[in-house]
Symmetry: C2
């Protein structure tokens, strides 16, 4: 059986937040706005505040979400939501604030002694998500990816109630984005669409969405490489990221993500860059094990081979880490027990994973 | 601003109803099954009954939905749902039972003196839809189209609460479908995808879904023309119809539907056939008024021109009605005040509508 579920209402267009004050009004009197230190400075927080103010709603702002959000920060946010009596959450930012907001919306209503083993119920505050980067797709997924210090990795917690109610897409919030963030997040989106197509849960709907996402992303490669963006580029990148999010919400991701988490946890590689470092070598192995589907995915992304994909990504990734075999073996081991392995239509054993890591960031 | 919203969970695959007993269990103790006289005889009703029985749930069956459902039948169904104490509705059949089920789910909870002017609230019984034809897409739309005798047409009532909770797609229920029904419903799906692309509300998501629907439908033209289907054909047609339903749930339909309602109301033309009679002449006018977008839509459907579309549909439509100018002028007048006119990115005035009708079914 195949399933497709995407309950998030997607609202797109210039100034869509400002124009949607009645939507905000429908969720209650008190909002907790969850954002990061810099995420809030692109105009999105001002637009949200204006909409809430126009409605006579009250808001508290929790702006302490760091990149790769921690359990401590979502607990603090959850406690604030309770103390304030928040009835809904507005998440503003990239993947970190958007993911953290989901855990906060849950912790506002449920106690969870161990976040990573806890099984959430439906009792989660409703959320409205406003992405200010074009990568994660968190605005349309039920996933919250948090730093798991005990297991020294990033761990995804998920529940259908983690789907935001509304996602507002307005490329204008990306105007001040640093080039590295713009490029890495776009690679993350590309990675989602390509990995989603390789999932055992891929289907006609997710394939159609992934293909459209990849078409948009390929058309943006010149802008991404030049680091020069028009508002039309930003809108296209944001749409592509959301489409790719709609894909992984249904398909999950692949071993690329499993391996990438180690590059982020141990080497500080930003998430999208970590995926980009691994993607070409990963699809090189896929091309050997499942040549037809791999060719189909590469073609959808506009590439004739995994080498062509590597050539396109190389200028965006900067200098590669050089990591020794011992560490890479440990990362391959970690990745081999991640649930993403079973989710992939191509089997990746520990040796395959090591090979991908070695070819991507080996000494 | 552009919106996309599709809250229906789509479950696909052979025997997906039988395998989903726990899904049915989650909606309550008592189900009203809404179906038509023949819709229930394809195995779907048996599968639903078995699933409900396995759960220890009770069910009443209302199987009096006629083609082009009437206000009287949905009132009767609503009264039965109340008397039985139904907590949820299972709709089994083509567009008529699936549309009627939505009105029944509403009337089970709300009094509505005049169905066509009433504004429903959210208080609607949850619904699970099982399409047994591949055309209407009702399983993923918030629309219920009922016969409106006062205005001598068919009128769509809609509300976000009319979205079914779950749609189960299993092509095996189409095995006994008469060829005319198979062909006309497929044309309906094609019409939805093409009309949706022409909507002022079309966007990247609906375009991607429409293109995939049209690709599947074009590949099924030989089977449709031969009237010979494998289960793979049935699954593909059903998926195409659902994808097209996901499109019109967001875009609405076009003047083709507005005009088609008269061919159905006054001449008994089945809905899909009515659309098919009009589609080529409609896109011929579109090609003059909006050549680029029209070419894009025809290309997505696999046709080089509206004439090629006409050639493909002709063998499926049978002998055309020959209707006099006076009647066609009246139908053009009726269609010109339908809300679908404003929904179309190409303007169709009364003269345009008359021209399409005349070229399609004129004497």
């Amino acid at each position: 059986m195949q399933q497709y579920y995407m309950p998030v209402k997607i609202v797109r267009g210039r100034d869509c937040v400002a124009k949607s004050a009645p939507v905000f009004a429908s969720f209650g009197k008190k909002a907790l706005i969850v954002t990061g230190k810099s995420s809030a400075k692109n105009g999105a927080l001002a637009d949200v505040s204006a909409a809430l103010f126009a409605n006579g709603q009250q808001a508290a702002v929790y702006d302490k979400i760091p990149p790769n959000p921690t359990v401590a920060c979502v607990r603090e946010g959850g406690a604030l939501a309770r103390a304030f009596g928040a009835e809904f959450i507005v998440a503003v930012g990239g993947g970190s604030p958007m993911d953290a907001a989901k855990a906060i919306a849950m912790l506002a209503r449920q106690d969870a002694d161990d976040l990573f083993s806890y099984r959430p119920t439906d009792d989660v505050l409703p959320m409205l998500h406003i992405p200010t980067t074009a990568g994660t797709g968190s605005e349309v997924t039920p996933y919250a990816i948090l730093t798991n210090d005990e297991k020294q990795t990033k761990t995804s917690i998920s529940h259908p109630a983690f789907f935001p109610k509304v996602a507002f897409l307005d490329g204008k919030y990306m105007r001040g984005l640093p080039q590295s963030t713009a490029a890495y997040t776009a690679i993350d989106a590309m990675s989602h669409a390509m990995e989603g197509m390789l999932s055992v849960r891929a289907g006609a709907v997710t394939d159609a969405l992934a293909a459209e996402s990849l078409r948009l992303l390929h058309a943006e490669l010149p802008a991404l490489t030049a680091g020069a963006y028009t508002d039309a580029d930003r809108d296209a990148l944001l749409l592509a990221a959301t489409l790719a999010g709609m894909v992984i919400a249904n398909t999950g991701t692949s071993p690329v993500h499993s391996m990438g988490y180690s590059l982020t946890y141990f080497h500080g590689a930003p998430h999208g860059r970590a995926n980009g470092l691994l993607l070409p070598a990963f699809f090189e192995v896929c091309a050997q094990k499942a040549p037809e589907r791999t060719a189909e995915i590469l073609r959808a992304a506009g590439f004739s081979s995994s080498a062509a994909l590597a050539d396109a990504l190389a200028p965006l990734l900067g200098e590669r880490e050089k990591i020794g075999d011992e560490a890479l073996r440990a990362y391959a081991g970690k990745a081999s027990v991640n649930k993403n392995i079973k989710n992939c239509s191509v089997f990746f054993g520990e040796e395959d994973l090591f090979r991908v890591l070695k070819n991507s960031v080996g000494v």
